[in-house]
Every structure is written in C-alpha cells, then in structure tokens.
Symmetry: C2
Subunit: 235 residues, 2 copies
DNA sequence: GCATGTGAATGGATTCACAGCT
DNA sequence: AGCTGTGAATCCATTCACATGC
C-alpha cells in the first residue's frame, strides 16, 4: 500500500499503538545488539510476550516493512521505528520544578539519549538557582522560561511542581510556545488546543494497586504490555 | 441492586474504571474541602471535565450511592470510594533502589498519606546504607528484603533500579511475599501469577510526545482523563 | 512452505437515552 | 422536575484467519 519510506499515516494512530511502537523499538534495539539479522512477528511475540497479529497491524499503519515468508530486517525496522516516532532528530526538553522529582528526572538516563536533550531545570526558589545536576543540567529562574524556550527551541515541557502550581506552569509553557507536555503533578490539567498532554500520576498508580490488594482473589494474570500503555479514548 | 455497603463487586472491574475511581476520589476530596454537601454526576462532569454517564456507570458497579433527583452526598461518596479502593487501612510500601528516582519517590508527598506508608528504601550499594531521606525513610541493604517485608507486613514494592536489575528485584520481591508491584524500570517484567504489576515507563511517555510532535497536524484536543489512565487489555 | 498484510469477527469500553425513583 | 441507574447502541481495539507474495 504505502511505500517503505512513507511514515506519515493518513489515519489517526491511537496512543496505544504509538506506545507499542516504543516497545517494539526497544525489543529491536535489543535484538540488534544481540546480532540478530531478521525477526518474524511470531518470533518477536514469543520472545517479548507480545501478540504477533498486533505487531503486524501496528507496523502496517506506516507501510510495508516485512518480507513475506521471511520476516523483518532488524536494523531496517529499528530505523523505521526511530523515524516513525520522530526520534531521528534531537528534541529539546525543559523540566519545571527542581525538587526531588525534577532532579531525579533530570538525571534519568533515558532522557539524555536517543533523541532527547534536557536544556534546563526551572524553579521559583532562588536557593535552587544555578545548582547543577550530576548530568550537567542547570537550574534557572522560572522567569526565564520564554528565553530558555526560544534560545533552545524547546519542544517538550515536563511539569514536576506541586499540584497547586501545575496549571500555571502548564499555561506558561504553552504561552512560551511549547506544544507537548508531560505532567507529573496529581491534578487534571485544563488543556489548550493543539498542545499534547500526557500525565503520569504516581498516586493513582499506587491506589490502583491498593484496589487490587483489597479485591485480590488469589490469582490474576494479565497482558504484560498493559502496564506500560495509556489509552486514547474520547469523553 | 447491591446494598450501599456492598463494596466487593462480583464482576471484574477494569483498570480503567479503577483509575477513574481515584480521580473521582480526588474530586470529592476537593469538593468536601470546599464545603459542598451534595453533587450530581453532571456537576462532577462539568467541573472536572469528566463524563456523567461514565461516572454513574463506574459507581454503579459497587452499589447504589446516589439519590435520584438529588445526586450524591459528597462525604458519603468520598468515604465509599476510600473503602472501595482499599484506602481505609494503611498499606506498607518498600522502594528498591535508592538512586535519584527512588529517593524522589520516597520523598513524594502522595506516598506518605491517605493509606500508604513507606517502610524503607533498599539498595545494593553500601555507600547508601543508613542514609535517611528528608521524609525519614532509611536505606537498608537489599539483603534485608525478606526481613523488612516480614517485620512491616509490606504489601507493595516499588522498583526504582536500573533496567538490568529490575527482573531480579521483582522476583525477589515476589519471593518475599509482596503481591503488588509498581515498576519504574524500562523493561518488560516477566510476571508471576497472582502478583499485580503496574509499570510506569518514563521513556515511552517521552517518545509518545515525540511521535505527536512529528505528526502534529496543528490542533489536537483530547479527553483530559486519558492521560492518567492505563488500560487492561488482554493479549 | 512460510510469514506478511488485511478484511472480517470478536470483544471491550464508552455513550446514549430513558425507565424509574425522590 | 430532576437525577440516578441501566439496557441498548455505538465506537474502538484486539484477534482471527486467510489471500497474497516471497
């Protein structure tokens, strides 16, 4: 249908699919490092506890990358996924909130490679200004948001401030031109059009485990992928 | 159908529903602090950008808590949700990995109230032993896992170690008797039956934003709840 | 022969819309 | 009159199963 280089799908791709692409990319990176040359959807499914039909369907949204009777070329599919996910160029990130969580995120290895660069931490507490994380990220005054965003062409903002300040930080980020935000504050952010928002709510995750413990029958076995993925459903 | 105190549903409740219950609880806590006495599903939906039919359906799994023509009693529904989520008694948590992330989680306010208590941090690096977080959590040798779990009746384990060690930590936690785990390591954990696993993958969340940026049409507006929730789908 | 890519079938989750209660 | 609780309808995601191509 689509040529192999066609990586901009016409249809809307669900968040679930997108997140699985990230999982596939990780699997392929591993296979490549293990010197595997090709892999079939069945093999991928078997080794990483996925579903082969789903892998094929997910990939097929973006073109035809496999060879019938053979499977997928590991390196080529990996590159395709990198392109598809937009990880083929660097995206700059800022983190608002230089408390424990912000600092931990600034040092998180997965945020310093494979397409991402953290330009700065921002905070409103002057005592934190000019501190530097182990990974070399500097803390600036939150007043300098616009300046930092402009100078570094920041595309992604991470909210790591207390719940009360989160909405204001979100709005300021959007005003400064950021159009994708990852929120760690435990609040429902009021969104703005055209700005992607993902939230990670640590408290909700714990409460969900509590619910399980309360109702635990004894045995429960689920899709290993589930726990990673967030849905895209409409209200 | 069910009596108001019936809080153990026969049917299987989806993870999506469970996570929404946490959201409702948060909304009700806010309404209670604002001295609201009753609230209708429409009012809840309007104020917190939810869907009224979904609220009613979610709540109805656990009994009949509303009054037709009136709505829900804020305090009573809040208490019901606390019971339903199993937050009416304390659940003890340990965190494995006293690096940046583990330390940040140990200091996270949402983990020190409303039903949770962090008993300890565990690490394999002796240089970290006996350190104490601001919130008073002490770092022990990971060797002492079983001892700590037994003495504190730990029910929930949080994995905050590097990817390579995550599976071993998970297995050790399960062997020690923990039956609910929250994993922050970017790997697919091989599950054991009867043990609930939730994973938060920071890298996947960022990649998902990257995909959005790559394909951003210009405007996109989604369900504000989406970003918080994780699905429960079968392979 | 074997594995992809894909329509068709299934299975869930959300939303609609209204009967029934206060 | 108003709002809950819920069957029916709709929408979306996953899985099946096979025609197609290497």
């Amino acid at each position: 249908m689509a040529s192999p280089r066609d990586v901009s799908p016409k249809e809307v791709i669900s968040e679930l699919t997108t997140e699985r692409l990230s999982v596939y990319l990780r699997c392929l990176t591993y296979l490549e490092s293990a010197n595997e040359k090709t892999v079939s959807s069945h093999e991928l499914a078997r080794r990483f506890h996925l579903n082969s039909a789903q892998i094929r369907k997910d990939l097929a949204y973006f073109g035809e990358f496999g060879i019938r009777g053979v499977g997928y070329d590991v390196t080529r599919l990996k590159q395709t996924l990198i392109n598809t996910l937009g990880l083929d160029r660097e995206r700059t990130v800022i983190i608002s909130g230089a408390g424990n969580l912000g600092m931990a995120l600034a040092n998180y290895k997965g945020f310093h490679s494979g397409g991402f660069r953290i330009a700065a931490l921002l905070d409103t507490d002057p005592r934190r200004y000019d501190r530097k994380t182990r990974s070399g990220v500097v803390v600036y005054s939150a007043d300098r948001l616009i300046e930092v965003v402009k100078e570094n062409s920041v595309e992604i903002g991470i909210i790591a401030v207390p719940a009360e300040e989160a909405q204001a930080v979100y709005d300021a980020m959007v005003d400064s031109g950021i159009c994708a935000v990852l929120n760690f504050a435990p609040v429902q952010i009021r969104r703005r059009d055209g700005v992607k928002l993902k939230s990670v709510d640590l408290r909700i995750n714990l409460e969900s485990l509590s619910f399980y413990l309360k109702n635990a029958p004894d045995v429960a076995c689920e899709n290993p992928l589930d726990s990673f993925l967030t849905p895209t459903r409409r209200l």
